[in-house]
Symmetry: C3
Subunit: 467 residues, 3 copies
């Protein structure tokens, strides 16, 4: 009997349930690992139990960029083509033409990106990739590299070719519904809107209405000739009607740091809208007023249609002009929710699930959600979506925002395979925070904290988006 | 003998001193809890000892909003009426009219607010409430809810009716003195200024001098007819004389993010002050100059009277216009202490205990206190007063600010009962930081760290406020 | 047999390797310390192994202010004269004249500063001092104080008088090369440029070209009469030629928060440069354009000479006007890397190792380094150079920035003795992060994480600065 032996590191670090006996008492591997390392694992037995409970929840993903006509990947090129990998590969030194070359096949594209992974293996993003390959394609290597990627590629292609692949991914990821982000002129046809929930994305309307193609798209999609404020409002109204009739559950927009919504006077609105429709070049001030008027009108229709309005605050587009596709946007931390004061006051009946791009904005988000009944915390967005920031931000939210006003996480994914590793990352962090701050720190029972986790991961999504 | 048995979770988590024997060596429950959970409790044996030492200190609370004529609560309505609960209840969905309805009795008000607690039980603020009810009213439930609040209410009313209730609370909270925040026209009479230390609050003077009622109050309180700069300066001087003669120990003000104090030219000052006194509407620029001149004059009198000038930097008032009473204020993180450069340079003889509303401002506060002899760190204010931010900010302060320039904490309370849970929250965090960063991380002895804690919690308050 | 006995705290906390036996299994002191304290030491056995590996690395310090003609200290006055101690002593209450009095000898100066240490012993900066005295001068006290400083002083003077003292310090600190920060008119002669690597500091050129002495220094150092844009460009070009011919490996500059580099039109450039050279007072706008033009020209020469351009972003000079020497600078957290958008886009061929003064700027740095191929994270600067901020910032960088784009640390030292404690502080934090986030959290092997640490501490310095 050697009960004190330190167990070999198990392959799957999240299922250490081996029980050992010591002097008649029950000990498990975790405890011995604590002894072995002299520092506890981040994922302790308590966390493990909480994590397992959170993992068992079937979820609704309240924000993604899934194409419902091709929700899952067909090859690893769809996965490695995610901007997180192309932009990091480019950042680490791979020339854009090599990454983005037209005409090469998916296998060659994957082979090229694999060359960059050695410089990226420290990143959380690559840990998602490994988890995808392990969970979905049986990959068991330490790293994806020159000597093993081809076998992985071939195996994964076969797997992804299975006719029910998307459903397999959803089942394995325990996802029941997936919110989309549909362009305003999306016909919303040919897919199951119960599974893939439409959501009206409005960036182009608010920030690119001056472009003729935006106006043409709008006009066409709602069969209205735009002439001025009245017709534009009617056109927008028809979008809402169409979207809600197809089961849309939210209106959404991403916003630059400089934007601050305010009500625009009717005269100013008419002036800007008419000039824009006429194709006349707008002054900088007119452009801002135009954006404000369209934005405010969207909020009014959200009120009418009882749709939450997802605000994703803080992104500057095309900062790195020669970056790869979708790898050009950054931010300016000098943004404040005070810019949204008028909006929050004017629309008490509209719920605003808010994402902030900067970790430094999280305390404002916590405080505004603590005070404004219509402000809700919404996930961990983009540059804040790494464990260090998620943990700190989650702890503050759980300490100061009413529990019914927190939407824990969304994946923001383009392909279904990413939900599993991204939600799992969040669930790990949440289990850790619930274990330390609530069970241990405040004496909550495990049942209580699992209830809290369930509400944040699932219950609030259902209630806030009226599912 | 079953020395390895994991002890049941003790009721009072901060007194796990049960000693067990194992192989002839002494082990305590904490150590076994470590083994049991595979992760140490936040409050370890070492932390526990440090916490106990910090808990034993008798303190002076250097910033509160206590009314010395009614310092303690009379019913739970006084406690649950604290804006932290009304604003959170409202934020979680309770209509303002239901919360704030006039004419209902205290018991009904409590009953209504209890309905909201289920949505708020995750918050630190509600953990203070529970701790108050446990410590002062013998509450032993897991949560205050529909089935138990009435008994608690009745029991607590009886307790609070005891004639020496305020003194009981002070004794149990180990509070020796409590700083007030008195309006400038407070007569400062009818209470023990040794126990309840006056402090001159100057928000109205600096930011609302344009309101006729402010000028009337000032004129009346010092028996001076305001005519211009000279008489206004004399009036302010008399306030300082009256306050210091009644034992005032600080001048205090809360400041919006946009404010930046600078010396104003005599001509500008005369112009603004005279216009304001005449009741003429001021331009925006004049308003700013007026605020600056009054603020600067206050600093001059602080120098003359050797009073510290507490600056509470960063609050925007009335951001949520329809919020409940005192639940309308928020902030803009885009503020910098560089705005106070002129002030810190001009008044080297005045000590400025500084509170920042935003956690993101803490590094500036640390750095300015590290460089400027007259800048002192002061507590953890409002939206930064939750354990996640307190811990991070405390660690940085202890690593970079001279130990004689840190005032650890103040309660900011409106009723005496809140000092106990708020200071205890701080003491827990401080014990953890001292244990980890100093005893374990840097090899300090327990005596050394308790000395450091005592200085930050008590010694510096005495020295800086000259008590 | 008492294998469970808790070992006495070892004197050197980073070498706890005592092995004990328990039931036939091997246990070490760390594990028992865990048991003893009920909370693991920050430096566990795993961390200890990683720390030891990181400590064994021989490094290149990529940014210092060493004077190569007097690299090491001659007395403790050189060490205690470091602005970190004089400014903290002053901040804690010591009058500037007492600290900075001319004509007193080094021993008296040390004696005076020692009087302040009691108020500063909590700071990380004083922990460096203690570590220097322990490692280099055999100090074994708990604190440097009135009763022991003289013996320490005398012992240290003897040690520092040894002819090879600088080489001893470098060897003990495992430093192979040290980057300098040379004024543009430094002749770069009389020292081993292989050991002390030149680096062109350009603050004066960009921000003080309007001062006649700057222009005289420039003119003289490159033997060119300045007349306008053409001659100024030629002069700057000669600086680059001279510096690179002497082995310079970087151009460097510290930048105020308000600065934003942009390309200046030739007409504007000619106008500003000529006015400046003529000695005509420049308008505020001209001053900015002048700074921008010179800065942009430096970037062009960095491209031509393939030199990295170190940007140290965010310092406001002379904020505390009466502060001690080098103890007057602070910052304004309201700065964004978006200000550098044009620069990063215009110079893809130039590598920009970037330091940010504010911890709140770290997420932007992480994100810009994640997107822009030419942006590299560079150390932990000044007010961010304390363990609390280093740990948080390091974790985020390791989670999101490609591993080949992170330069872990530089000492910023003025005297060689500071490299050891500063790099050791960083190595401790890095070992902790690698242990927790990578070995334990993500299952990396120790070999893998040590490779990562080596790349960040040494490999990237070699590659990025082309050594």
């Amino acid at each position: 009997m050697a009960p004190h032996a330190i167990p070999a590191r198990s392959k799957r670090p999240f299922n250490r349930r081996l029980l050992l006996f010591r002097g008649g008492n029950c000990w498990n591997a975790d405890e011995l690992t604590v002894l072995a390392f002299g520092r506890p694992l981040p994922m302790t037995e308590l966390e493990q139990r909480l994590f397992d409970e959170l993992e068992s929840l079937v979820l609704i993903d309240p924000h993604t960029h899934i194409n419902p006509h091709a929700p899952a990947s067909r090859t690893l090129a769809d996965i490695l083509g995610y901007h997180y990998y192309t932009e990091l590969a480019h950042s680490a030194g791979m020339p854009k033409p090599y990454i983005a070359e037209a005409g090469i096949g998916p296998k060659e594209r994957v082979g090229r990106l694999v060359e960059a992974l050695g410089n990226l293996d420290n990143t959380t993003q690559v840990s998602w990739l490994l988890e995808i390959c392990r969970e979905f394609f049986g990959f068991d290597g330490v790293a994806i590299a020159s000597q093993n990627w081809e076998a992985l590629y071939d195996r994964s292609v076969a797997k992804m070719a299975e006719p029910d692949w998307a459903e397999q991914v959803l089942a394995k990821s325990r996802l029941e519904k997936v919110f989309l982000t549909n362009e305003f002129d999306d016909p919303l046809e040919g897919f199951d809107t119960n599974r893939y929930v439409p959501c009206l994305r409005t960036d182009d309307l608010v920030f690119h209405f001056e472009k003729p193609e935006t106006r043409v798209r709008l006009s066409k999609s709602v069969s209205i000739e735009l002439e001025g404020v009245a017709t534009l409002r009617e056109a927008i109204g028809r979008l809402f009607t169409r979207f809600t009739s197809r089961g849309a559950r939210a209106c959404a927009i991403s916003l630059p740091p400089w934007f601050s919504p305010h009500k625009v006077s009717p005269a100013d609105a008419e002036n800007c809208v008419e000039d824009a429709i006429s194709g006349a070049p707008l002054t900088a001030e007119q452009s801002v007023l135009l954006s404000r008027w369209i934005f405010w009108t969207l909020a009014e229709f959200c009120a009418d249609h009882k749709l939450p309005f997802d605000l994703m605050i803080g992104v500057n587009r095309r900062v790195y002009e020669n970056g790869v596709y979708q790898g050009q946007d950054l931010f300016d931390m000098r943004v404040s929710l005070i810019q949204y004061k008028d909006l929050f006051n004017a629309f008490p009946q509209v719920t605003f699930p808010i994402s902030v791009l900067g970790h430094t904005s999280n305390q404002e988000l916590v405080s505004y959600a603590w005070i404004f009944p219509n402000v809700v915390t919404h996930g961990h967005w983009w540059y804040s979506n790494i464990p260090t920031y998620i943990e700190f931000d989650t702890r503050a939210r759980l300490e100061a925002v009413p529990r019914n006003k927190q939407i824990g996480y969304y994946s923001d994914m383009y392909k279904l395979e990413f939900a599993l590793p991204k939600f799992r990352m969040y669930r790990r962090v949440l289990a850790k925070v619930l274990a330390n701050d609530f069970v241990v720190g405040r004496g909550w029972s495990e049942t209580q904290v699992v209830d809290l986790g369930r509400q944040i991961l699932r219950g609030n999504v259902e209630r806030i988006f009226k599912i």
